[in-house]
């Protein structure tokens, strides 16, 4: 009795999906389709002009100016403080920017941008096209290395100076201190009391440092690894910030500045064709500091000025460049170029209290630039760019003259404005992809995808006949969902290897269906009805599908976490492809098959 009811229940449920499942499936596919559509329209190159309110440039003038220079304008949108000029051709973007910069008021900010070309109703839903990687869009990519060596070296040097003073004050003589190659300190102490004093000093005054080794009167102190990691993180963060503001100076809206690994920074500048300008701004790491002039040797150093004359200045700066908020080049009263500097509050106070007691004395402006030697080591070049007499008590605003001509002053101001760097940064990798090559790559990648998809669809339809069509619908749904997801997931970038991953996915996605169909064929051969075969086929294939896909998923996850740039794009599409193909291959095709043949009790049919 019980048995019969059970089998009845089973029969009733065989190959049946509840109505809500269909609703969910259809909605998913539709939403993904909607999200994928803007990608088809792509993006248009544009210029964005940020201007003051009520100072909008006249639209017809803009249009005439550009069209007069043979630059086709697609559309111009104007808000209160922003005008967006949409162009038709990417290659005219840079030229258009130069033309507008010459005609518009100087304080208008013009940036290169890309805007979605999709109809506004799609854009108003917040749907955006898939972000393209540099290899598809063209542009410049830099990898910067933040050299931590000098940072630690400076700290070690500071500690040496401080300890020497401390020991002198405590009345110990004969303390020998040297810096090891790993920037730890080696102390050779004269007496046991000196050692006790040292340990007390270290504990009270320099908690950052720890005694790493101690045998008799030989003591080694260093910065512990956790502390070092903190310092590295802080330094790289500061550099990231600096790079972001420097890049902002270049006026590229889509620029990306990102930390990579422990001490690397990756910068992507889509649309930039000439790496030289960007490189000058990024690569030159300059810092500025104000120093007192010295006459005695101790605690001082000799630095050449612009004319090669050595000048003795105090080693410790009055004020470092990190206090600089703003720096602007302008033409001074006597017609010479000058840089107007604004300091932050703390910097202003420091400057104020120093200059108060030193009016009439000279102050040197030390300009340091880091560059990389042929052998890969970083070189610091010091240069005194000006020695000026302090004319009055300076506050948080003052100016430096004598920085050279207007162009020099402008460059200096730009670098200063972007902030100061304590760790030298050098370019260790540089890639430039021309826009035509990027377009070629898209063209090639997508025609390969189209051909691969076409071949697979034809093959499946021929090989599995009616079931093949189901697999084909599932495959198309798979592609739609994949594109939809790529557009939706924040940070997802489509690269050329990413397209390769898509093409590969197309070939492998049918596997899920193939596994099921082969099982169904088996079951039919065993003499079951079509409906039963479908039920058994899906059930028995499921474990296999899971097993087979998880290994590739593991690979994709590892590749995504270790890889970067284009390869990360590959890992992304490969991994997403596996997930979506399992979704469509199992759920979507089952839903279709259930509706079509879920009650089909024929035994003698070929699939």
């Amino acid at each position: 009795m019980t048995k019969i009811t059970n089998s009845k229940v089973q029969r009733k449920r065989l190959n049946h999906y509840a109505g809500w499942k269909y609703v969910v499936l259809i909605c998913t596919v539709l939403i993904m389709l909607l999200s994928a559509i803007p990608t088809i329209y792509g993006e248009d190159p544009a210029l964005q002009i940020n201007h003051k309110q009520d100072q909008q440039p006249a639209l017809h003038v803009l249009k005439q100016t550009l069209e007069g220079s043979n630059i086709a304008v697609k559309r111009i949108d104007q808000d209160m403080d922003k005008t967006t000029i949409v162009l038709t051709d990417l290659s005219t973007q840079t030229r258009a920017k130069a033309i507008l910069e010459a005609t518009l008021p100087a304080d208008d900010d013009i940036t290169l941008a890309l805007v979605s070309a999709a109809p506004s109703w799609l854009q108003s839903m917040g749907l955006k096209p898939i972000k393209l990687g540099l290899d598809l869009r063209g542009g410049v990519q830099f990898l910067l290395d933040v050299d931590m060596e000098p940072v630690f070296n400076i700290r070690a040097q500071q500690l040496v100076d401080n300890l020497r003073t401390d020991f002198r004050e405590e009345g110990f003589r004969g303390v020998r201190i040297s810096i090891n190659h790993n920037n730890s300190l080696q102390l050779n102490l004269p007496t046991d009391e000196a050692k006790v004093t040292l340990l007390k000093l270290m504990h009270n005054n320099y908690p950052q440092w720890k005694v790493t080794q101690s045998s008799g009167l030989l003591v080694e102190v260093g910065i512990p690894q956790t502390e070092k990691t903190d310092i590295i993180n802080l330094t790289v963060q500061q550099n990231l910030q600096t790079m972001r503001s420097r890049i902002a100076e270049l006026g590229i809206t889509e620029a990306m500045v990102q930390r990579q690994g422990e001490h690397r920074i990756r910068i992507e500048l889509p649309g930039v064709q000439d790496p030289a300008t960007a490189k000058n701004v990024i690569g030159a790491t300059a810092s500025l500091a104000f120093h007192e002039l010295e006459t005695v040797r101790s605690g001082s150093m000799l630095v050449n000025n612009n004319d090669g004359i050595p000048i003795r200045i105090a080693r410790d700066a009055i004020l470092g460049g990190e206090h600089i908020i703003d720096a602007r080049a302008s033409v001074g009263e006597i017609g010479a170029a000058e840089v107007n500097i604004t300091l932050d509050n703390a910097g202003g106070k420091k400057m104020s209290s120093f200059t108060k007691h030193n009016i009439g004395k000279p102050m040197a402006t030390l300009y340091s630039e880091y560059s990389r030697n042929a052998d890969g080591s970083t070189k610091k070049t010091n240069n005194i760019i000006s020695v000026a007499t302090i004319q009055a008590q300076l506050g948080s605003q003052f100016r430096i003259t004598g920085a050279g001509n207007m162009a020099d002053a402008q460059e200096l101001a730009l670098l200063l404005r972007a902030g100061s760097l304590t760790a030298p940064v050098t370019i260790v990798e540089e890639r430039t992809i021309g826009p035509s090559l990027g377009a070629d790559n898209i063209q090639n990648g997508f025609s390969a995808l189209a051909l691969g998809l076409g071949l697979t669809l034809v093959f499946m339809a021929l090989w599995y006949r009616r079931l093949g069509w189901v697999a084909n619908i599932a495959l198309i749904a798979n592609i739609i969902i994949l594109f939809g997801l790529l557009a939706l997931i924040p940070g997802a970038v489509l690269t050329l290897p990413g397209i390769a991953g898509l093409v590969l996915t197309v070939g492998m996605a049918v596997d899920t269906n193939v596994l099921v169909f082969e099982r169904i064929r088996d079951k039919l051969r065993e003499g079951r009805s079509f409906a039963q075969a479908i039920d058994c086929g899906f059930d028995s294939a499921f474990a296999t599908i899971l097993d087979a896909n998880i290994t590739t998923l593991i690979i994709a996850v590892v590749l995504y976490s270790v890889g970067r740039g284009p390869v990360q794009g590959f890992a992304l599409t490969l991994g997403l492809g596996i997930l979506t193909s399992m979704f469509t291959g199992i759920l979507v095709s089952r839903a279709l098959i259930n509706k079509l043949w879920g009650r089909d009790t024929r035994h003698d049919l070929k699939v």
Partner: protein, 310 residues
């Protein structure tokens, strides 16, 4: 009747088994040859891994390599690798980052005597340290993924069965690397990605056969292991062929239309798919058999009860 079927099966399966053993031996020979190529020729590491400069230029198709090379050689003071690009007039120039002085010269200026219309399509400059780090990271990636996969396999499969899949995987990767070493094709980052994808694909194939073996071992515990293997391969053969076929089709499409940057990737995938299919059919089942895999390894073992043991 049962005896009959078994007999006829046996005859056939003996043939299949022999075929499998022979092809396994062939595969081992392939692996040895691949290792020989790898150790003699070595891989032609791309700029991604070695560091250096790659510039792709487009110029008048009538200009030949013998005109380009000397100009670059003298300007850069080193041996410049000039490789034909995807189409006529497109060249890929590869050289080490100049160690002295002024940095990288403007290629259009260097080649100006040949033509004034030279277009630099892309340039990559990779520091040697970065390349080295990338190579280390890549090695780490392979190691980590192998560990994860082994952990998964040992969780899902008996070790004897898992060893077969791993052996097939090793075979596939070695074979593809061997081909790259023998033909001195450039091994760059996308090829590396392809190698990892091949690992995934190779396992995928082996696992599906392994799944069947497991199923059959549980279902028909009395069948000889060689027959189980043959049956499992037979049952999955059409699936293996269809999936390999569709994937091979799409990879061919990529090879055909994907353009120069994806060439290495497509070639690696193409070879990897073929050997991956071969190895999962021919090789992956032989090793478990060799280790003496049998149905007992997949039987539900009853917990020992005091005194009852056979």
């Amino acid at each position: 009747m049962t005896i009959n079927i078994n007999n006829s099966n046996k005859k056939k399966s003996n043939n299949y088994s022999q075929l499998r053993y022979i092809s396994s031996a062939v595969s081992v020979v392939f692996m040895l040859v691949a290792i020989a190529f790898l150790s003699i020729n070595g891989l032609n590491w791309g700029v991604d891994f070695t560091g250096g400069v790659i510039t792709e230029v487009q110029m008048d198709p009538t200009i030949t390599m013998s005109e380009i090379s000397p100009l670059l050689q003298s300007a850069l003071n080193q041996n410049v690798n000039v490789i034909e690009g995807g189409e006529m007039g497109r060249w890929i120039l590869r050289y080490a980052e100049p160690t002295t002085g002024i940095g990288i010269p403007d290629i259009t200026e260097v080649l100006a005597p040949l033509s004034t219309n030279i277009q630099v399509l892309n340039t990559s400059i990779v520091g040697s340290q970065v390349g080295q780090e990338l190579a280390e990271q890549g090695g780490l990636a392979i190691l980590v993924s192998m560990l994860c996969i082994m952990a998964y396999l040992s969780y899902r499969f008996e070790w004897r069965l898992a060893s077969g899949a791993l052996f097939a995987l090793l075979h596939d990767v070695l074979f593809v690397l061997g081909v790259f070493a023998a033909l001195q094709l450039e091994f760059n980052l996308t090829v590396f990605a392809a190698i990892l994808a091949i690992i995934g694909y190779s396992l995928n194939d082996s696992i599906i056969i392994g799944d069947r073996i497991r199923e059959l071992l549980i279902l028909k515990p009395n069948l000889a292991i060689a027959d189980v293997n043959n049956d499992a391969i037979g049952a999955t053969l059409s699936r293996t062929m269809v999936t390999s076929g569709t994937t091979l089709m799409t990879v061919s499409a990529l090879w055909l239309l994907g353009g120069e940057p994806l060439n290495g990737f497509s070639v690696a995938m193409f070879i990897g798919l073929i050997v991956g299919t071969w190895s999962s059919i021919a090789v992956s089942t032989t090793l478990p058999e060799f280790w003496g895999l049998n149905a007992r390894h997949y039987q539900v073992v009853e917990l020992k009860k005091g005194g009852y043991e056979d």
